[in-house]
């Protein structure tokens, strides 16, 4: 009705609010990709020889590969020679303390609500912030050090802990894994590194915040988390990018290694710029995330809330190698306007009695296209493996789409697998019911969507769950009415 529509229209006009650009001088390498660029990046980062060799192997392999085409998304051809593969705020090659960080950049993070400063850090989140290609500051490091926990930028880990890096880098996602992972291996510029020693339970949530600032820059970060025997860590990842008319490429790799009895909980709220209402601009998000439950009784849990990006291509997966290991995947993926998402997981059961759970919630609004693609694979030796999968899709409006591609491959007859799927539509009846009880149309949509996502949100750490709910609300603005 008249009053309601006006309010809705006003909220539609409220745009992507993380779309500001920070004015800092940047130092970039020339556009395009070649062996020289790979060498240049490695040299800029002053890397040991093993890193350079690894990058070069990856680059040479990448040149033999072609971009995958099996995914259910459409996008203009990416010109890999028109991308800047390294960009660092000038003078930022190596900040020693917070005071050396460019005030403009610190303002950016303040706008984003990232607690960089010491007093805010007491809130209990240790943050590693990656700005374009360089890690800006890692907070709370001293406190963690006492426990033997290493939490630092990837570049720093290469310098300070080359042994650990060499041992685990590429051990879960090899440089040959796929087109985007190979590209990342060749050119990745920074990221986060976490090592939790034996028997240590990390006392706080560790967090990385990624932001793409410079134009025409790709972001290729790499995260490596190792939880040693009986260790525990919960890790949060958040992302934003400024509004730009052209598309920007984000090709990240995350590797998790859980040794005996270790647990890793990895939560993502992805809010990269999704493009405008006509589908112009936005981030192409091609990400490889995989965890290996290498030791017996270890557990890896992925929780993702994907609301941003023009294209999302990501399948956080678990290799359940040890006996009695547990893999979990909880996902909310929302596509509005012209966003496209092809996301899901792979659960590879190798160890005996390995268990996996997949809960996927896809929400499509506007012209959004949402695909769940998942694989459950039970190998010969995985006696007593169990999987439960549930894939639900929610449609808002009649121009969007939801697709489900579950693949199941079982080579052991003792395995037990369950799969449930549903597709529903936010009905006028549901909206009217809520509005009759006093909720505005927007609040009613949010309520219904949040109800739909409840099983995933309850897996998120508290503050993240609140943020995720708000984000979903903002991302859905104007989707009904």
């Amino acid at each position: 009705m008249a009053g309601g529509n006006k309010a809705i229209r006003e909220r539609i006009d409220q745009d992507y609010k993380w779309g500001f650009v920070t004015d800092v001088e940047a130092e970039s390498v020339p556009r395009g990709l070649s062996e020289d660029i790979v060498r240049l990046i490695s040299a800029k980062k002053n890397e040991p020889e093993f890193m350079l060799q690894w990058r070069l192997k990856a680059y040479r392999h990448w040149t033999t590969m072609t971009e995958p085409t099996w995914q259910n998304v459409r996008y203009p051809k990416i010109d890999y020679q028109d991308i800047v593969y390294y960009s660092a705020p000038r003078g930022m090659d190596k900040p020693k303390s917070l005071d050396e960080v460019d005030p403009e950049i610190r303002k950016t993070y303040e706008k984003l609500g990232i607690p960089l400063e010491e007093q805010k850090i007491l809130a209990g989140v240790a943050v590693d912030a990656v700005f374009d290609s360089v890690s800006v500051a890692t907070s709370y490091k001293g406190k963690l050090k006492e426990l033997g926990i290493i939490f630092c930028s990837f570049s720093e880990a290469v310098q300070e802990h080359p042994g650990l890096v060499q041992k685990y880098l590429g051990s879960v996602v090899p440089h040959t894994d796929n087109f985007f992972a190979a590209l990342n291996a060749a050119v990745f510029s920074d990221g986060s590194f976490v090592y939790i020693p034996k028997g240590v339970r990390c006392p706080m949530e560790l967090s990385t915040y990624f932001r793409i600032n410079a134009a025409d820059t790709g972001q290729f970060e790499r995260t490596l988390i190792v939880a040693d025997d009986k260790a525990y860590v919960s890790y949060l990842e958040g992302c934003t990018a400024p509004k730009r008319d052209n598309n920007q490429l984000h090709a990240a790799v995350v590797e998790l290694v859980a040794l005996e009895d270790a647990q890793i909980k990895y939560s993502t709220v992805q809010n990269w710029y999704p493009g405008d209402k006509q589908g112009k601009g936005g981030i192409f998000n091609f990400v490889t995330k995989r965890g290996k439950c290498a030791g017996a009784r270890s557990k890896i849990s992925w929780t993702q809330v994907e609301t941003g990006s023009a294209i999302t291509w990501k399948y956080p997966s678990c290799i359940l190698q040890g006996d009695d290991t547990i893999g979990e995947f909880y996902s909310v993926a929302l596509t509005n306007n012209y966003q496209q998402a092809d996301t899901g997981t792979k659960m590879i059961h190798i160890g005996k009695n390995s268990k996996s759970t997949i809960i996927s919630k896809g929400i499509s609004a506007g012209h959004g296209q949402n695909t769940y693609r998942g694989m459950v694979k039970v190998l010969k030796g995985a006696r007593g493996a169990r999987n439960y999968s549930q894939c639900d899709s929610l449609l808002i409006g009649d121009k969007c789409g939801a697709h489900t591609f579950p693949y199941i491959e079982v080579k052991n007859s003792t395995a037990r697998l369950e799969h449930e799927a549903s597709t529903s539509k936010i009905g006028d009846d549901q909206l009217f019911y809520c509005r009759q009880r006093g909720l505005t149309q927007e609040d009613a949509v949010n309520l219904i969507v949040n109800g739909f996502c409840k099983e995933v949100f309850r897996e998120l750490p508290m503050e993240f769950a609140v943020e995720a709910q708000k984000l979903l609300g903002v991302s859905l603005e104007g989707s009904v009415g």
Partner: protein, 256 residues
């Protein structure tokens, strides 16, 4: 309280209401009866603001204001409540959460402070007794997996909590066994306080043995064909709706 004048409305491309006139004063309980397809539910939907129903002529004044200019939520804020004939399911949203959001939206509109979780729980627990419901209901998803009787009791619970000035009960008795009917009727009667007005829409006179109306109207082909006191409902039960249709012969001639 409510003044309906010459109300015409279309639903699904067909004219369903063809000139309704009705006046309800504060505290009065009116029963609206009529055969299937006579326009009972359409009337309820027009009053609650469902957009699928299009008003083509006439006006509705609620407390002296033009009701038809308000959105469904604005009507709720102003004290209009509809107990749905078919309450909808909302997976993952607890009844408690939905109700709290509704109550606080209404309180905010009235300039009253919002209830916190503890105050709200106390209020709801008290109202639960009215409809003899287990508190466990509150944490279940709205109407999901509820039996027919549970859904209707849930509607009456919501009415009790939202405390409307005008409550419209759309076939709240349909699908209820005799015990559930008694519980629902007791709940409704407890909410008759001499100020709250109610429109009780029903197909059967049975409900009116429990909820005794001040007035009874019989809808036929989109118009009020007969009005009277509760004895009209009893007559109707004896003689059937065909008796009303005969009364209404002139109108039928004008039907397309």
């Amino acid at each position: 309280m409510l003044e309906i004048r010459d109300l015409h409305a279309n639903a699904g491309g067909k004219e369903i209401l063809r000139g309704i006139n009705l006046s309800v004063r504060p505290g009065e309980v009116h029963a609206i009866m009529g055969p299937n397809g006579s326009g009972k539910s359409t009337l309820a939907n027009v009053l609650a603001g469902r957009e699928a129903v299009e008003v083509t002529r006439g006006e509705v004044l609620y407390r002296g204001r033009n009701l038809l200019a308000l959105s469904p939520e604005e009507r709720a804020w102003e004290g209009i409540f509809l107990a749905f004939q078919y309450p909808v399911e909302i997976p993952g949203v607890s009844t408690l959460y939905l109700l709290k959001a509704g109550v606080n939206a209404i309180r905010k509109h009235r300039g009253e402070p919002e209830f916190d979780a503890i105050e709200f729980m106390a209020l709801v627990k008290e109202k639960l007794k009215l409809v003899e419901m287990d508190p466990a209901f509150l944490n279940r998803s709205v109407n999901e997996g509820f039996s027919g009787g549970e859904k209707k009791r849930n509607e009456i619970l919501q009415m009790a909590v939202l405390d409307p000035a005008l409550a419209i009960l759309d076939e709240t008795d349909s699908g209820l066994d005799i015990d559930a009917l008694r519980v629902v009727a007791n709940g409704v009667n407890a909410l008759r306080d001499g100020r709250r007005s109610m429109l009780v829409i029903t197909h059967y006179q049975r409900l009116l043995n429990y909820i005794v109306p001040d007035k009874v109207h019989v809808l036929s082909q989109g118009r009020i064909a007969l009005s009277g006191d509760r004895t009209l409902a009893l007559d109707l039960e004896k003689k059937g709706y065909a008796w009303v249709e005969n009364h209404d012969g002139g109108d039928r001639a004008t039907a397309p």
